[in-house]
């Protein structure tokens, strides 16, 4: 026991020393010389806080908190039993009600954040088809978002086509782009695939950036129309643009719900199973009758369609598009959501999108340390919950769940 305890504290000391080595260069190297005060102050706070947490953890291990834990366990079990008895549709209805009522009890800023979260949910679910289900690592996914956004931007500005008509068109263009990247990579696996997709993402961005005559290059395209609807005003139908944030919120909510339903149904169909078989063992899948080349192409195309839909909405919401919105960091962000939430899991990806978009907004004060914390969280996740926050559920109960 004592040996284990001292080992734990030795690890703690090592981790803290390492943390300081990381922290000091960030805070202590200034233009006018080296400084130790500020970094040491922050470091000591973190060190004390984690020492207290570690101490509490050890006390818990010994059982010092039995008087709180036992009742808490009973309450937790009872709550779990109640939750298990509530049918899934009730839980879903509750979530839906909250989502629909959301704009009524929140303000502009919250609407804005919610819209971004929903856009990223669609992107995450689309990428989830490619990465989570079919197991094809795609580092250039944001390209399809860009293709969708520019398709709508150009059609809207030059031809005045409506948002609703452009949704399927942009989805189609994105699917074609998906096939274009999918086709040459069909016979690649693993690292090679990742590098080619990374390259493809950059190609799309650089083409947009340099094709001045079509895309207006880095200056972007201005004056994109918002979605419009025909509205009954008492005398006749009147065309109305949905400009306000609440209206846009409902549009993206509807798109997100469509995406969730579509991905869920795909997942539980023969196509979804074929995707997963390809992920598990491509050769065995081919020998069990799955046309792996076609299925992989389909995975790229389907993932791209959702990216294109999200892109169309993005252009309509911002009323402006420029290549800056489609950089590699965005692809990495969407991929992180999928990995963080749980590959192949729909609620997981949704949770991942909420975590990575909404939480940084809540902790605005720590904005400078965002990437630092982000990296730490990702590293911790891979150690403690490698299957994600909400791992994918399999069909049929597993034996350990049945008991």
């Amino acid at each position: 026991m004592t040996i284990r305890v001292s080992k734990l504290w030795f690890g703690y000391a090592l981790a803290m020393a390492w943390f300081y080595v990381l922290l000091w260069p960030l805070l202590g190297i200034k233009a006018d010389g080296l400084e130790f005060g500020a970094s040491f102050a922050i470091w000591s706070k973190v060190a004390v806080a984690s020492a207290i947490l570690l101490g509490l953890y050890q006390l818990k291990k010994v059982g010092a908190f039995g008087f709180v834990e036992r009742p808490a366990k009973v309450v937790g079990k009872a709550a779990g039993a109640v939750a298990a008895r509530v049918p899934t549709w009730v839980a879903l209805a509750l979530v839906a009600a909250v989502a629909v009522a959301f704009p009524f009890f929140t303000e502009r800023y919250a609407h804005d954040v919610a819209i971004s979260v929903l856009v990223y949910i669609i992107l995450g679910l689309g990428l989830n088809v490619v990465v989570g289900l079919a197991g094809l690592l795609d580092l250039g996914y944001i390209a399809f978002f860009g293709v969708g956004a520019y398709t709508y931007a150009l059609l809207s500005v030059h031809f005045g086509l409506s948002f609703w008509l452009c949704l399927p068109i942009a989805g189609g263009f994105a699917a074609i782009a998906g096939c274009i990247i999918g086709y040459p990579t069909l016979r690649m696996r693993g690292d090679y695939l990742a590098i080619v997709t990374l390259g493809f993402g950059e190609i799309v961005r650089i083409v947009i950036n340099n094709w001045m005559s079509l895309t207006n290059g880095p200056n972007g395209i201005l004056g994109i129309k918002a979605p419009g609807i025909y509205w009954w005003n008492g005398k006749g139908f009147e065309h109305m643009l949905l400009n306000s944030l609440e209206q846009l919120y409902y549009i993206i909510l509807a798109l997100a719900v469509f995406t969730i339903v579509a991905v869920y149904r795909l997942n539980h169909s023969r196509i979804g199973r074929a995707f997963e078989a390809v992920r598990e063992d491509q050769t065995a899948a081919e020998l069990m009758g799955v046309d792996t080349l076609r299925i992989k192409l389909l995975a790229y195309a389907l993932g791209a369609v959702f990216g294109g839909l999200a892109g169309t909405f993005f252009a309509a919401r911002m009323k402006f598009v420029s290549p800056e919105s489609f950089t590699f960091i965005e692809s990495a962000m969407v991929l992180s959501m999928v990995v963080l939430g749980g590959m192949g899991s729909i609620p997981g990806v949704i949770l991942g999108a909420v975590t990575l978009i909404a939480l940084p907004e809540v902790f605005r004060g720590f904005e400078l340390y965002r990437m630092f914390v982000f990296g730490g969280v990702m590293a911790g996740m891979m150690i403690f919950r490698p299957k994600g926050l909400w791992p994918a559920k399999r069909m049929g109960a597993r034996s350990e769940e049945r008991e």
């Binding site: 078989a277 598990e280 050769t283 069990m288 009758g289 799955v290 046309d291 399999r394 049945r402």
Partner: protein
């Protein structure tokens, strides 16, 4: 007539001649054993039949259709299914899902049907489920339907592989060392199972090292050594064949 016919098959990998002029048939109702020492080219024969490797010379025909240039999933759709020597299940899927994947080539519904949940898709999905459960039941795996393949015991995984192959609704099944790693009781069960598969009207070609199993159920045996067919015939003939004995036990010392 679902006859699998190999005529003068040769396969070469670079400088290595893996198979030389191998010819034999698996006829309706047959249980054929393919035996030979390690490295004789038995699994290569399977890979040629299922389209993983291309032949350098010779022809494989199934029902008279040449299989050359057909991709593996097409060959499977014609009715030739296989299992693997080193188990290749979809590890992170449940037993039921593993078997359901095998129904892929027998079903048609596409993306739109799946997204819109058309009535035809629901009917098809129900049928896939039904057939898959039947295949699991046939291999006595019904109670493991919800189990992850990776959590199943070795012997069960072997059986699940056969269930998956059966779910593709084959007319011919290729079993690659189905008894490898099984204990004697499991081997006896396996022999019984292979008998039942044969009774379903499915032709069987199996590679196997366990001579008790091979001699017990095969009606016809083909012996390979260094990629060359050295003997072919009934089990009792094979057991007496001097070339087979030589291949397995080596030359008599002069």
């Amino acid at each position: 007539m679902a006859t699998l016919e190999l005529s003068e098959i040769s396969v070469r990998f670079g400088g290595l001649q893996a198979l030389t002029d191998v010819s034999f048939c698996v006829r309706e109702g047959d249980i054929v054993g393919l035996i030979g020492p390690n490295g004789a080219g038995k699994t290569t024969v399977f890979n040629v039949i299922t389209g993983v490797y291309q032949t350098s010379a010779g022809q494989v025909r199934y029902d008279g259709t040449p299989l050359r240039a057909l991709r593996p999933h097409k060959i499977l759709a014609l009715g030739v299914a296989r299992t693997f020597q080193n188990i290749r299940l979809f590890q992170n899927m449940t037993a039921l899902e593993n078997v359901m994947v095998a129904q892929h080539c027998r079903t048609r519904v596409g993306v739109l049907g799946a997204v819109l949940r058309l009535p035809s898709q629901k009917r098809e999905e129900e049928r896939i489920r039904q057939r898959s459960l039947e295949a699991l039941e046939f291999m006595d795996l019904g109670e493991f339907a919800g189990e992850l393949a990776s959590n199943m015991a070795y012997g069960l995984q072997r059986r699940l592989e056969i269930a998956r192959a059966l779910a593709t609704e084959p007319k011919t099944i290729l079993l690659d060392e189905p008894a490898a790693g099984l204990n004697p009781a499991e081997s006896r069960d396996l022999m019984h199972t292979i008998g039942r598969i044969s009774e379903l009207g499915i032709n069987i070609l199996m590679v196997e090292h366990d001579m008790k199993v091979v001699m017990g159920i095969c009606r016809h045996i083909v012996v390979l050594d260094h990629g060359v067919m050295i003997a072919e015939g009934k089990p009792e003939e094979i057991q007496r064949d001097p070339r087979v004995i030589e291949a397995y036990l080596g030359n008599e010392l002069n």
